[in-house]
Subunit: 217 residues, 2 copies
């Protein structure tokens, strides 16, 4: 079996173990067994538990950023559609890879050097969202009114809201209530940040792919 | 000097040290010196570095939750006014106590048992916001339409956005740009979540204390 396949198997097993048990509690024995390889091979390939965890963190950071980039790659769409695409891509990713997201959460709460990787990812995602909102403001002809500082603040608000919702949606798996789907979670956030709570309370929701805006403005 | 005064001095010094240097790097010698007491006295009162850090975390958790409760205590207001009061209280607190907020952030990324305290605080704040949004939905007569699950999702989005914005606002202190004021940050979040990005892009902002809603709906 080629090294890259074996390494992927090890990372898959490690991501599952770290996500479910945490960095301290996950054992290299269990990871090797779940990956179907010997423990010395894990050490040969990934060097140490710390390096293995870092490899997991980096893989999951890369996958999440790639999903967001992929979701927002289509240019020339109306701002709400582009935001909707980005959010759908993000929540589809977080719903499909709950262990991967849990590893990022563990990394953030595990101290350095892992927290730094997650912080860098966050900067990257905030930059994507800032560009998107800046473009939307420009399209709407209000790029002067909406100061750069405010766009940056809005991007941080959006990323924080999305992170928090992803964690919330994933935490509901295993409860007796069905977890919300990725589209449902993305719609909740669109209603929150695009239509706004004021419209939502009036029953004027944001609905994807309908133009003009279906809440009557 | 009474014990509680001395203990408060120690906690003040410890919060500043942990916030700026992190849990590992902060030294008990420096904390004792900054508090104007001997190191044995710090150990006598607070037992260990871990206990001292935990005391800091608990104090800052308590202060933050109290600020949010205080800000949202007035009942019978229109929903946007109540949300505005809560957000203003939150950002006034986080702007006034940047070291306290930084300690909570450090605690969240420091692993157990500290991360658990911050998680419990988050549950408490989410509960306050869920109640507030549920009440707003009821006032607007849409408590049936807005399912309980969605209100919970919206509350998580709001808390995540607020956390992220507080961190962003505080991280700008010391840059060559002036940090946004608490009211400015609260207004950014109100525009984001109440008016919604769609209205904001049209220049239809949410403005505090004006009725009917100033963006013409």
């Amino acid at each position: 079996m080629p090294r890259e396949v074996r390494e992927r198997q090890m990372l898959d097993a490690a991501v599952a173990a770290f996500a479910r048990q945490g960095y301290q509690a996950a054992s290299m024995d269990d990871i090797a067994e779940a990956a179907g390889v010997s423990k010395p091979l894990v050490y040969l390939y990934l060097k140490s538990k710390e390096d293995l965890f870092m490899a997991c963190v980096r893989r999951e950071v890369g996958a999440l950023v790639a999903a967001v980039r992929q979701g927002t790659r289509e240019r020339g769409l109306p701002a709400d559609q582009q935001l909707w695409n980005g959010l759908t891509a993000f929540f589809t990713h977080t719903a499909a890879r709950p262990d991967g997201v849990a590893v990022l959460y563990r990394a953030r709460t595990q101290g350095e050097p892992f927290a730094r990787e997650v912080a860098a990812m966050r900067v990257e995602v905030v930059t994507i969202v800032t560009t998107l909102l800046g473009q939307a403001a420009q399209d709407a002809g209000c790029d002067g009114e909406l100061a750069e500082r405010e766009v940056s603040g809005l991007a941080h608000a959006l990323v924080g809201a999305a992170e928090s919702l992803a964690e919330w949606a994933n935490s509901r798996t295993g409860e007796h209530i069905e977890a919300p789907s990725a589209k449902e979670t993305a719609a909740t956030l669109m209603n929150f940040c695009w239509a706004g709570l004021e419209n939502l309370m009036k029953g004027a929701r944001w609905v994807p792919g309908v133009a003009p805006a279906p809440h009557g403005r």
